[in-house]
């Protein structure tokens, strides 16, 4: 195992530019869980970002909350203003592993680990977060809902580092985060759901029901148009258009689909159009 320890962002970007196979690590929480069994991971080169202090703090501008590339879940949990303006961030952060993981794990790491079952990504996406990537070639901004192209595939080049996550500040009239795991804490999501409503419209984001975390345009449309929905079953066609769950070791496609429809139906009961 080869670990590089850059002391500054330019140095880190140089390292990533010169070794296309090097993997940046922040909290290390995804990597180390599987370390004993993934022997092939032992031969790789890692760029340890822990000394890049400039990427650690979260900051506020007039119109944005900006999470740094190394901002942890715990940083957000502790931030009173974040709890007030973006409560789903803290709700989701508290669902990630245990406190030890929350203290080390980063939002940027959650994005680039690209797990379809991520807890942090759905709430960021529901808040229209934008991923800021930087490399020796310059800066690039990618809206999170266009960041993933397939299972573990994303619009990040090997030489790019996530340096910021920018979240627009808006008033929200509705927001909810639901995580359904196999137990009440320290579980990987079987179904995750983040829903927000603001002046920009409805955002419905689903986790663990597709190869990537994704928005659900068909369900969003039902909400925008005030379509009459009288039962969870009535949501199934839209859910089927938006997501593609699978049977795996944690749950079944059927369970995931039905739970998603039931959560949407019951949580948004006041917003579905009524017949007649």
């Amino acid at each position: 195992m080869n670990v590089l320890l850059p002391g500054s962002l330019p140095e880190a970007l140089d390292m990533l530019a010169s070794d296309g196979a090097a993997i940046p690590i922040a909290g290390g929480t995804d990597l180390l869980v599987h370390w004993p069994v993934r022997v092939d991971a032992h031969d790789r080169t890692y760029v340890d970002l822990s000394r890049l202090d400039a990427l650690k703090p979260l900051s506020w501008t007039a119109d944005e909350l900006v999470l740094g590339g190394l901002t942890t879940y715990w940083d957000v949990i502790r931030d009173a203003r974040a709890a007030q303006e973006f409560p789903l961030l803290g709700n989701a952060a508290r669902q990630v592993g245990a406190i030890q993981i929350q203290a080390r794990g980063t939002w940027a790491g959650n994005i680039v680990n690209a797990s379809p079952a991520a807890d942090g990504v759905p709430v960021l996406m529901a808040y229209d977060a934008v991923v800021v990537l930087e490399s020796r070639r310059g800066r690039e901004q990618v809206p999170l809902d266009r960041f993933y192209s397939g299972y573990k595939e994303m619009r990040r080049h090997p030489d790019q580092l996530v340096v910021e996550i920018r979240i627009p500040r808006r008033p929200y009239s509705y927001q909810v985060f639901e995580k359904v795991g196999g137990r009440r804490a320290q579980a990987i999501a079987k179904v995750g759901l983040a829903v927000t409503r603001s002046g920009a419209g409805w955002r419905v984001v689903a986790a663990s029901v597709a190869p990537t975390i994704r928005r659900c345009p068909a369900v969003e449309r039902l909400l925008e148009t005030g379509t009459a929905i009288a039962s969870p079953e009535a949501l199934l066609p839209a859910v089927a258009r938006d997501v593609a769950p699978i049977d795996d070791i944690r749950s079944s496609a059927r369970y995931r689909t039905h739970v998603m429809a039931r959560l949407l139906y019951h949580d948004l009961r006041d917003f579905w159009g009524k017949r007649g």
């Binding site: 869980v33 359904v180 196999g182 944690r250 079944s252």
Partner: protein
């Protein structure tokens, strides 16, 4: 008294086998079968490994018979050209670097010419799948009382049901591990285990060594739950073979993934009931079939089956009972001992069936139990007349009272009528657990305990029964201190080292306090007699006499000893399965209250009451802890702990995908004891360790049935399964609504 080893464990000072200092040693590792059944046609070693650096052991390196000695001599130490389950050990490797070892093990390919495996214990095997006897039945047992067919034919009502329980992983915090080394010609094996003398015997047998040349030492053990009953013999043998071949100490420690994949689990079971009843709900006939999955070798399946069938009829009076049991061979990783040892499986079925009967008869589930619970003078299925003076109705009443069962039932009805997505209900289970080895087992063990008086007047307890978190050190200290009237600080408990301690039998079967503790008391009496005192002498008088004895007998050991004697009036016939199955039963009634979220079909246990009669409670804190731990383990087994199988091996062998309850999944578990001292147990105690795993699962499943109208017959009752059941229940409801 505070738990003896508590501070060492809380502060991290306790040294488990992996923490022991060791010089110039090799790491050991096991290469396993990739296939469930077949002939090993080749073993291909990777070409990019410096093999001369490695010690490699196969079955030809075993000095004695290639067998891990247990009930049947069928399980090889290392597969000899033929494998019967995935993960069966084929080769052993050792190397100074664990990393190099992992790479080397990964580079080896065990090539197996596949043959058709038997993977479903519930279905009759196809001809090509027969691998044990003529029908893959490892063991058949039957209990017969009265004439069940005649009684069924005459019964006013017959209620049938089929129930299933899944495998369960022990999830002891400390994975399995052993160190083997040599002290001169003596092979010394240290590690995490429940039964040092089982390990000793297995080493002697397969290594063809006399007892004097083998020494087994138990290291502080981070949980066992039965998982460290028979399995540690395998790791001990593997480490010893590598140490023999290399001449160096070898440390073989499983990581969590290997431990979960390759070691034993609770036996999956299928239980069928056919019950004849009078219109008043009285049990007239119980016809029960118990089938368990034994896996690819016999291990302890015959005795697990035995305990399963003995407990299958429940703590009820019934004159006509037939219980047939079968343990099936399959090509699954062998199943083994797990807290409860068959009784949780058969009592899940029995107690769930009681509620199914109540629903069928339109009867109250409490009333059904009240009518049928054993009264003194009545007999169990094996004909054991219960005459212990315990008021079993009072045990149940206390549980109902503490849980406010009736009051809550009314509250639940109102709650369920108004809440959009949540449903609540309570469920009851009444059950029992026999302590100690079954039937003549304790006599066969010939357990012995010693209590030594040391020159400074201190007392030392010598037994092979070990601490694994359940409190042996503390309870043995208390028992010796109380018996001799000395301060607990003046009592030590010897390390379980077969070179020093006598064979007091295995640390299993809820026998340590009741049976071995009783031997300890008698050994203490013997010590007192050896220094010329009678049983009334206590405290300073005893310690002074010990010191005086040593002054008069310099250099000689002063040891009191006791050997097991069958309590008077106990008789068991192993050929007919009739008689007194256990010296004593503990009795219990548990009530679970659940809340089901209809959106996710997740069940949450929101309140739990556990009432039991276990004789005299020796240490209330430890006893309460045992019960609470058992209830939590039962909640896991009932609701979330699910082994996902791939070719008879666990596919979800990680704690991320095999879920056990967190503190947030567990309600307050309220524990109460009714005390009725047992004359033949230490300090009046009966066995307690296993009882609490028998009741939670049926109580929870009964509560879910009550809350939702679903009819769960199998555990784990995961949200996925409950969703299907609720759809069936809803459908049933709609049919009922539309009926004229």
């Amino acid at each position: 008294m505070r738990r003896r080893e508590a501070l060492a464990k809380l502060t991290g000072r306790e040294r488990y086998v992996d923490d022991l200092p060791l010089d110039d040693f090799l790491w050991g590792m096991t290469v396993r079968s990739p296939a469930p059944r077949g002939r090993v046609t080749a073993i291909r070693f990777g070409t990019d490994i410096a093999w001369p650096e490695f010690v490699v052991v196969d079955h030809r390196d075993i000095p004695g018979p290639n067998v891990v000695a247990l009930i049947e001599q069928d399980q090889p130490v290392l597969a000899a050209g033929y494998v019967r389950h995935v993960h069966e050990p084929v080769l052993l490797l050792a190397h100074p670097s664990r990393e190099a070892l992992r790479r080397a093990a990964r580079s080896i390919e065990v090539v197996v010419a596949p043959e058709p495996p038997a993977l479903d214990f519930r279905a009759p095997p196809g001809p090509a799948e027969i691998q044990y006897g003529t029908d893959n039945v490892l063991k058949r047992l039957q209990i017969v009382k009265g004439d069940v067919e005649r009684a069924l034919a005459r019964a006013a009502v017959v209620v049938s049901g089929t129930y299933e329980t899944g495998a369960q992983e022990h999830v002891y915090l400390e994975p399995q591990g052993m160190i083997a080394s040599f002290e001169g010609a003596v092979l010394v094996v240290k590690g995490s285990m429940q039964c040092p003398y089982y390990v000793l015997k297995a080493l002697q047998h397969a290594l063809a060594r006399e007892e004097a040349l083998v020494r087994v030492i138990q290291t502080p053990t981070g949980g066992g739950f039965g998982g460290k009953e028979e399995f540690p013999s395998h790791i001990a043998l593997h480490a010893a073979l590598l140490a023999l071949k290399s001449g160096r100490p070898v440390k073989l420690i499983y990581d969590r993934g290997e431990d979960m994949a390759a070691t034993t689990k609770r036996h999956p079971a299928l239980v069928r009931h056919r019950t004849g009843l009078g219109r008043d709900g009285r049990l007239l006939a119980q016809d029960i079939e118990v089938v368990i999955d034994g896996g690819a070798y016999v291990t302890l399946s015959p005795v697990v089956l035995s305990r399963a069938i003995i407990h299958a009829a429940g703590p009820y009076a019934c004159d006509h009972v037939r219980i047939s049991g079968r343990a099936m061979f399959t090509n699954a990783v062998p199943f083994g001992a797990f807290r409860g040892f068959g009784a949780p499986q058969s009592q899940f079925a029995g107690e769930r069936h009681m509620d199914v009967i109540a629903r069928t008869l339109g009867m109250d589930a409490v009333e059904l139990r009240r009518i049928n619970l054993l009264a003194d003078g009545q007999s169990t299925a094996t004909g054991q007349v219960i005459q212990d003076g315990t008021d079993r109705l009072a045990v149940m009443e206390r549980a109902l009272e503490l849980s406010r069962y009736r009051e809550k039932q009314r509250g639940h009805a109102a709650f369920n009528a108004t809440h959009a997505t949540l449903r609540r209900g309570s469920g009851l289970a009444t059950f029992y657990h026999g302590a100690g080895f079954t039937g003549g087992g304790e006599v066969a063990l010939q357990s012995r305990v010693r209590v030594a008086g040391r020159p400074d007047g201190r007392i030392e307890v010598l037994s092979a029964n070990i601490e694994m978190g359940q409190g042996t050190l503390t309870v043995f200290t208390e028992l010796a201190a109380a018996r001799l009237g000395v301060a607990p600080e003046d009592v030590t408990v010897a390390e379980a080292d077969t070179a020093r301690v006598p064979n007091s039998g295995p640390t299993v079967a809820s026998r340590t306090t009741m049976i071995v503790g009783g031997l300890l008391e008698r050994a203490a009496d013997d010590l007192r007699r050896r220094v010329g005192l009678d049983d009334t002498a206590r405290g300073a008088a005893v310690q002074q006499a010990i010191r005086r004895w040593h002054r008069e007998h310099p250099g000689e050991p002063l040891v009191g000893e006791a050997a097991y004697e069958r309590p008077p009036g106990i008789a068991w016939d192993d050929t007919t399965y009739r008689g007194d199955a256990y010296g004593a039963f503990a009795w219990a009634a548990y009530v679970a209250e659940v809340e089901v979220d209809l959106r996710t079909c997740a069940t949450r246990v929101i309140d739990f009451v556990a009432v039991q009669e276990v004789g005299k409670v020796l240490n209330p804190t430890l006893a309460k802890g045992q019960v609470q731990g058992g209830v939590v383990q039962g909640i896991g087994w009932a609701l979330m702990e699910e082994c996902k199988w791939r070719e008879g091996a666990m596919a979800n062998n990680q704690l991320t995908n095999y879920l056990i309850p967190t503190s947030d999944d567990v309600p307050s578990v309220r524990v109460a004891f009714l005390e009725n001292p047992y004359p033949h147990g230490a300090g009046g105690a009966k066995g307690l360790g296993e009882l609490p795993i028998d009741g939670p699962a049926p109580a929870i499943a009964n509560a879910v049935a009550r809350a939702t109208g679903a009819d769960p017959r199998a555990i784990p009752l995961t949200p996925e399964k409950l969703m299907e059941l609720l759809e069936i229940a809803d459908f049933g409801l709609r049919i009922a609504d539309s009926a004229p």
